[in-house]
């Protein structure tokens, strides 16, 4: 029903966590996977595990040149680009009054500007094909304020608006652009935050109606759906995948 056979999917930050789970899910649905990430060793390992056709491309999403080279390398190898998943992201835990300018800047550069640069780099290929799917990873931090991640929340709020604007801009080219807003997910990123400030996992679990923290694989199903023909009339929207967290007080 949600087959991606014959499609080429590029996943930024696809070497671990949610990105790796999405890459694995898209691969399972039949897509050929390109992983773009900074960490060459982890990226190469992930691509190797995903199968012989998978490709790793060392990429810095904050560099326009690097994003364009990423798309060029994908087209050189596979002749097309059908699906772009803008997943690469970081956070820097700090109270708002303590965030340094370089930290603020790097979070915005990777999470928001990076998604924009990758989408802009992918657009010519998708326009030529008159078909494309762009999936941006937001966060519940796009909906709620957070006391220790103002830069992250601002970047993810930006993702929701970037998603709407790209959907409107490129709809006539049959490119659908949507966002996934994961709830609290058990990843390296949240585990590091938990190690620094213990208690978040328990607090999030207690507030989640489903009674558990999310797993990276929970997010993959939304990406498969949004990348498939079954979602061809869905664009510009954000899907929360959060066990009901966002609708609870």
């Amino acid at each position: 029903m949600f087959s991606l056979a014959g499609r080429v999917a590029l996943v930024t930050g696809g070497n671990r966590g949610i990105g790796l789970a999405i890459a694995a899910g898209l691969a399972q649905a039949g897509a050929t996977i390109v992983i773009a990430a900074r960490d060459a060793q982890a990226g190469q390992d992930a691509a190797t595990r995903l199968g012989p056709d998978s490709l790793f491309i060392a990429t810095d999403v904050t560099s326009q040149d690097s994003c364009q080279a990423m798309v060029r390398a994908t087209e050189d190898r596979f002749g097309r680009l059908d699906i772009l998943v803008n997943n690469a992201g970081i956070t820097r835990a700090a109270r708002a009054q303590d965030i340094s300018l370089p930290d603020w800047q790097s979070v915005l550069d990777i999470n928001l500007t990076g998604a924009f640069l990758c989408a802009q780099a992918a657009y010519p290929a998708m326009r030529r094909q008159q078909a494309g799917k762009i999936i941006n990873l937001g966060s519940l931090a796009a909906i709620f304020g957070t006391a220790t991640a103002a830069a992250y929340a601002a970047s993810k709020g930006g993702i929701v608006q970037l998603t709407r604007s790209l959907a409107v801009s490129w709809g006539a080219d049959n490119i659908q652009v949507n966002a996934i807003l994961p709830g609290y997910i058990d990843t390296g990123l949240t585990r590091r935050a938990e190690a620094e400030r213990p208690g978040a996992f328990d607090a999030k679990r207690a507030r989640t109606p489903a009674g558990r923290i999310g797993r990276p694989a929970d997010i993959a199903g939304a990406a498969i759906f949004l990348a498939s023909d079954a979602a061809s009339f869905i664009t510009g929207t954000s899907i929360t995948v959060d066990g009901g967290y966002a609708i609870q007080l």
């Binding site: 029903m1 949600f2 998603t163 709407r164 604007s165 959907a167 409107v168 490129w170 709809g171 006539a172 049959n174 659908q176 709830g183 989640t208 109606p209 489903a210 009674g211 999310g214 797993r215 929970d218 997010i219 993959a220 199903g221 939304a222 498969i224 759906f225 079954a230 979602a231 061809s232 009339f233 869905i234 664009t235 510009g236 929207t237 899907i239 929360t240 995948v241 959060d242 066990g243 009901g244 966002a246 609708i247 609870q248």
Partner: protein, 247 residues
Amino acid sequence: MKDFFNAKAALVTGAGSGIGRAAALAFAAAGAHVGAADIAMAAAEETAALITGAGGVCLPLYADASKAGHAAASVAKMAAAFGRLDIAFNNAGISGGRPGKDDFDEDRYDSVMAVNAKGVWLGMKYQIPEMLRGGGGTIVNMASIAGLTGVGALSYTASKHAVIGMTKAAAVRYAGANIRINAICPGAVDTPMLARATAGAAPPPAGTTGPMATPADIAAAVLWLCSGEARFITGHPLVVDGGILAG
């Protein structure tokens, strides 16, 4: 594909036409045992015939979604026929008429709220206990982009806001019991209901992906919400509108 909903019992209300029929056919094609409920029994039987003709399993059900006895009977008949209820798509709905012209037609307000809002509430009232008995389930309620904006006749817009509100409240209540409850918010969909409502009127707003969704576009999203692929999603109003709300 055939085993996607292998032998799951799925109840679809308003299954005699439009989105409901498309969803019933899609659930059956994906292996579900379908109950096709409609106030027009002949239409429900036609849907059932289409499904059984294609090798699927379908039980036609006569039901006025606004009547408690009918909602209860539909669930009881599903349990009797299939032994369980895993999926419910509370889709039955009626038009609020012309915005402006019919906004303050009191009879229409009462009937629209009775079917679109109370009908969903009655559906959940009887479906949830049966799902609890079976250890869980998943429900999708038919809302609309009129549940998120001010488009549409007053009664219709009110009913669809109500659907989204009760979907969220029910989702919070039953998430711990392994029942996921979501809403779907189509924009303009090429259905008999829309054709009747807009006959002679201005066409509905077009999104970026084309003028109108097909019933199958909406059905695909409903099936996904009911599948394991959406296992961590509950209380979400999924917008399927071709980008109307985005811009």
